[in-house]
């Protein structure tokens, strides 16, 4: 739907619009409050390391439950795409991996960014540059998805054209980040996660109440509607090919352990014990929300929204696209009040996630490229914060350009691309640096670069961009999800280059690895504060 093609919801519902504005104003007020509490660069980057495990768990779940969860996964299911199941189950495995292997060492070794952890083992400008570029690649892919979701939401709610909506979102996200830093971003995430859980509970209750709390009846209605809309065409999306299904599963599981905006959350807690607790709480919240999102809301949106012809345009497309199925569902189930609440909370969700992503991207630009590479570590706190703010502006400009270019793409798919890059570039480097003594600097750089380049190139020459955006007849790489090829390639190259490197088995490197391993696995007893850099 464009602003000119259909009546927007805000025009016919001042209640929805008012709720929307109120929630946005609340989040801005939090940023102003956080700005007044900041005293140092550490406060700005990591909320002073004073966030508790429970608060961080809520913030992690808030970071993860982005537009892709609420809008994208339901949108996929609504369009009859069964791969929604992979999107909800795989991150749970990823969270388990995060707790077993990543959370504790990261907290014990890092301070502001993931690159600092890797640089403890492998010093040098090339390492910093690689880390910054891989963080930026993931951040940009993830930001595009959020921008597309926010713009679609604003179009449907207030009738803004896509480009204006994207710029408005960018302006708000800059306000959060530049004013309040990590403290504001964390509290906006926490409040938004609570609101999102409330919305999911309300919508699930209303959906089940509509069928007299008879879940089998809901499934029967959905099945009938699917048969009417899509016929009996079995597997859809990634489920049509074992490579794609497995590849998406790999990306969504191991990409979790390479998402920079999630990983920097472990620097905001005081010790490793709280870092572990935060993953447990996050898993509980995410699993519960996903359960309701797919097994109640996705079925409800199929059963109730698909049977409303007034919500579809002349071409048979849902107003605002399939991504907006849950927004229409809320209007059908609870009228303007519920629609206003759900739209506002979804928008706040997107704003909070883009703020977290901008923190990660700007941190990579400021800390890794400007401070460490350009100024060789010689900067004051004030200069660091200024560099960070400049980095945030650059990330925002890139996000706006791509947000406009990628209008109408599936949000869930765009997020899966960010997970693919994270699983192929960040994850292999981080896990090998933390656990393989034999990894050398050359091996790390070669493996990481191959993972980063292969994932991005395979995405570009795959069907989503090569065919859908660049309008070629056939894709060069036939699969939409390349993680199953790019991630093993990164590990293999890192192993081969490290084994053939003359520095392999170097005694000093081995001693450094042992020292860092001891500190990384100190269970919160050795490292209540991060190592200094």
């Amino acid at each position: 739907m464009t602003a000119h093609a259909a009546e927007h919801i805000g025009g016919r519902s001042p209640i929805a619009l008012t709720m929307f504005v109120v929630i946005v104003l609340i989040t801005i007020a939090i940023s102003v409050w956080a700005a007044r509490r900041m005293r140092s660069a550490r406060d700005f980057y990591t909320a002073g390391g004073r966030i508790t495990g429970w608060q961080n768990g809520l913030a992690i779940s808030g970071d993860f439950m982005s537009a892709s969860t609420f809008l994208g996964v339901i949108g996929l299911a609504f369009a009859g795409n069964g791969e929604a199941a992979i999107y909800i189950a795989s991150p749970i495995l990823g969270l388990a991996f995060l707790l077993f292997y990543i959370a504790e060492p990261l907290r014990n070794l890092g301070r502001y960014t993931v690159a600092q952890v890797i640089s403890l083992r492998f010093a040098g400008r090339a390492v910093r540059i690689f880390c910054a570029l891989s963080v930026l690649a993931v951040t940009i892919f993830y930001l595009i998805a959020q921008m597309v979701g926010a713009a679609a939401l604003l179009q449907i709610l207030v009738g803004l054209p896509n480009s204006v909506a994207v710029i408005l979102v960018a302006a708000l996200m800059m306000l959060y980040v530049l004013l309040g830093g990590m403290l504001a971003t964390t509290w906006v995430q926490i409040i938004k996660a609570v609101l999102l859980v409330i919305c999911v509970l309300l919508l699930s209750y209303a959906s089940l109440a509509r069928v007299g709390f008879d879940a089998p009846l809901l499934y029967k209605l959905a099945a009938t509607q699917l048969l009417l809309t899509h016929g009996t065409s079995g597997a859809t999306g990634a489920l049509g090919s074992p490579f794609s299904a497995l590849s998406l599963g790999v990306a969504m599981s191991f990409g979790m352990a390479g998402l920079p905006h999630l990983l920097i959350r472990f620097f905001t807690v005081p010790n490793a014990t709280e870092a572990r607790r935060s993953v447990l709480y996050a898993t509980l919240i995410i699993a519960g929300v996903f359960l309701l999102v797919v097994f109640v809301l996705a079925y409800a949106s199929i059963a109730f929204v698909q049977s409303q012809p007034q919500l579809f345009d002349a071409k048979g497309q849902l107003q605002g696209g399939a991504n907006m199925a849950v927004i229409h569902l809320s209007g059908l189930l609870g009228g303007d009040w519920l629609l206003g609440l759900v739209a506002a909370v979804t928008f706040a969700t997107i704003l909070a996630v883009v703020a977290g992503l901008t923190m990660a991207g700007a941190g990579a630009l400021a800390n890794d490229l400007y401070v460490q590479v350009w100024r060789k570590g010689e900067t004051s706190d004030l200069q660091q914060v200024r560099a960070f703010r400049a980095g945030a502006i650059m990330v925002t400009i890139v996000a706006v350009v791509f947000g406009i270019l990628f209008e109408g793409q599936s949000i869930a798919y765009m997020v899966s691309l960010a997970f693919t890059v994270a699983a192929s570039a960040n994850f292999p480097v981080l896990i090998l640096a933390l656990y393989w003594k034999g990894l050398t600097r050359r091996g790390m750089l070669a493996g990481g670069t191959v993972g980063l380049l292969s994932s991005v190139v395979l995405i570009v020459i795959g069907p989503a961009i090569w065919v859908n955006m660049l309008h070629h007849a056939r894709p060069i790489f036939p699969y939409a999800y390349p993680a199953l090829a790019s991630m093993p390639m990164a590990f293999l190259v890192a192993w081969i280059v490290s084994r053939s490197d003359p520095a392999h088995g170097n005694r000093e490197d081995g001693l450094l690895f042992d020292r860092l391993s001891e500190r990384a696995q100190s269970h919160g007893t050795l490292a209540t504060g991060a190592v200094s850099h």
Binding site: L93, L226, T232, L239, G249, H523
Partner: protein, 75 residues
């Protein structure tokens, strides 16, 4: 991390991985057969999802508890 903790971590993660793969096989089978058998099979998919979540949460709790106890002993 002592070798026992390391072994436990490996055991717990591979348990999660095995349950995840089995659960996903069920979920994908259900999704592929959808919409024809959605009413009965949705229950299997729901069960498989709950099994994945339950296993992951249980193993995460066991591991976290074990490390917390180790930390207390050292302190």
């Amino acid at each position: 991390m002592n070798p026992a903790d390391r072994k436990l971590r490996r055991l717990l993660f591979f348990t999660c991985l095995a349950v995840y793969l089995a659960g996903m096989a069920v979920i994908i089978e259900v999704e592929i057969s959808r919409p024809l058998r959605a009413i009965t099979d949705a229950k299997y998919a729901l069960g498989a999802y709950c099994l994945i979540v339950g296993t992951c949460l249980a193993t995460m709790f066991i591991f976290s508890h074990r490390l917390d106890s180790s930390a207390k002993r050292r302190a």
